[in-house]
Subunit: 294 residues, 2 copies
DNA sequence: CAGAATGATGCGATTTAGGTATTATTATGC
DNA sequence: GCATAATAATACCTAAATCGCATCATTCTG
């Protein structure tokens, strides 16, 4: 059976006239007759009751008309969706991220993309960077927002999207709050309000390494699970905490933010994707992301 | 596009191997390759990512797989329904009836038919006999239960389904309740509890004719709209009413049923259908009806 | 009864689809 | 690292299907 036959059948059912239907189908009348006949043979059912002067649908024909219309409609819709997928206007975009990549810009980009490509479904997954890189390589993730610095020769393409120093938050009435900047040597003497090692070992060790560059060890104060709790303890004067510099835009009353005098730790987030996969969705997302930058 | 291509696509999507898929499709591998290629060309989309060793669905392919399955499923279901319609096991059966044709047997037959052919939809329409005959002739009604006596040479086939005399109902304590039968001459002197002329003029006049055979006129008592009301008046001793003889099977307490001495009025219901239409639904219905008779 | 309308049929040319044999490429094993 | 097996694509041929044109057959109309 051919879709053309179904289309012919639908047109003929509307016209109830072989000649006129054939005209609408840009074909001659005899092949249309044979097409319908072939369809009827295949279905083993007469779809039209016809003598040499009149054509009308049989009961079976009336039923099959509904079905044929439904089928053709669905097929046509599917073809349109496929075309949209080819343009990156439909489909599912899977994006990975690490916790610290969720910035204002990230959220705004998501919103813009959703506005511009409303038919695209975005699936967001939080994953550590190495897992994201593996997932992008094998294709189960389209795009990743990762901490890992990829080599320029890496099989994945990437661009830096965040590159900013970590700064510290202090209580307003803290003695160091008077200074312009704070030295790591001073910091090491002050209690660090931090999260427990088990929560994010990679980041935890990375901070330790930051101190270790200067042969220092942080002095640990309270361990808290959530950022908000950390800010409360800092505001209470129990020590300091670390955060990416742009996070202080949404600064809290009672806290002061200070840069660290020496080069210390930088938050570097890259957006990575697999150029080998040639996915229009990805290209569109990157475009929207870059627009947002400008 | 051919349905065969969709089926091939579905099988290949399941096997992800041209050779095995071709085997399942009872064809060779090269034509399957070409079929898929042709489908991809028509859709202007690659459905499979494949090198010479591996076959896997693209995102577009995964989407189209769902659609193709839905389409083929629907088409297959439609074909089955068409086949069932050809056997008279599916479709819509339109049956006309007149009020007095609704007997126990009628209802039981409907139930049997519905049990035996659960996929058939029965549409019942109350219509006077002449309209039913016209509707059956033009095909808008499959079967009619009519009062009209059709000639044997009539274009519609028919069988008698009810042929029974009208009898009368009387109050138990009515003087005539003692007699074996009642004469029309006696009846004409007794008030007839009847429905108003406007409710069913044909039947009303037919009853008048019954009396007119004997140069009589009924003596009209109360006019009531419903049978139940008539029975109440009869039980109250206000006169008699007419009813088909088998209706007294469901007789009411307080009422006595008497045959009429002279030939008077007979209820004759025929079941009529159009043999020219050759509808398996109709044949099946007639079969069930005849079974019920035996 | 003649003619117009209309669906079916016959026929030849073209296109399409399937089968077989072969090729090209890639993964695997020694 | 090379030979071999596996596997999808391609070439080529044959068979089938489809189309357009011409014609036929039937039926409705005046």
């Amino acid at each position: 059976m051919r879709t053309r036959q179904l289309k012919s059948f639908i047109v003929l059912a509307e016209e109830l006239h072989f000649g006129k239907a054939a005209e609408r189908l840009h074909m001659q009348q005899p092949p249309l007759s044979r097409q319908i006949k072939a369809l009827e043979n295949e279905l083993e059912v007469m779809l039209f009751k016809r003598n040499n002067r009149k054509v009308e649908l049989t009961e079976e024909g009336a039923f099959f008309l509904q079905e044929a219309k439904a089928i053709i409609t669905r097929l046509t819709a599917a073809q349109h969706t496929l075309k949209a997928m080819g343009n990156g206007e439909a489909g599912t975009l899977r994006i990975g991220f690490v916790d610290s990549s969720i910035t204002e810009r990230f959220v705004i980009t998501m919103g813009r993309f959703k506005d511009q490509y409303p038919k695209v479904i975005i699936e967001l997954e939080e994953k550590v960077s190495v897992e994201q890189v593996a997932a992008i390589g094998e294709g189960s993730l389209h795009i990743g927002f990762i901490r890992t610095q990829l080599a320029k020769t890496h099989e994945l393409s990437h661009i830096n999207v965040i590159n900013e120093p970590y700064i510290i938050a202090l209580a307003n009435n803290h003695p160091m709050a008077e200074q312009e900047t704070v030295s790591v040597y001073e910091l090491a003497k002050e209690p660090l309000i931090f999260f427990p090692h088990r929560k994010n070992p990679g980041f935890y060790n990375w901070v330790l390494n930051g101190f270790a560059q200067y042969d220092l060890m942080p002095k640990f104060g309270f361990e808290v699970e959530r950022d908000q709790a950390a800010e409360m303890f800092v505001a209470g004067g129990f020590g300091y905490t670390l955060l990416p510099s742009t996070s202080c835009r949404m600064g809290r009353r009672g806290l002061t933010y200070k840069r660290i005098q020496e080069p210390f730790l930088d938050l570097r987030i890259s957006m990575a994707w697999n150029p080998a996969h040639e996915c229009p969705l990805v290209n569109n997302f990157i475009d929207v992301f870059k627009q947002q930058a400008g």
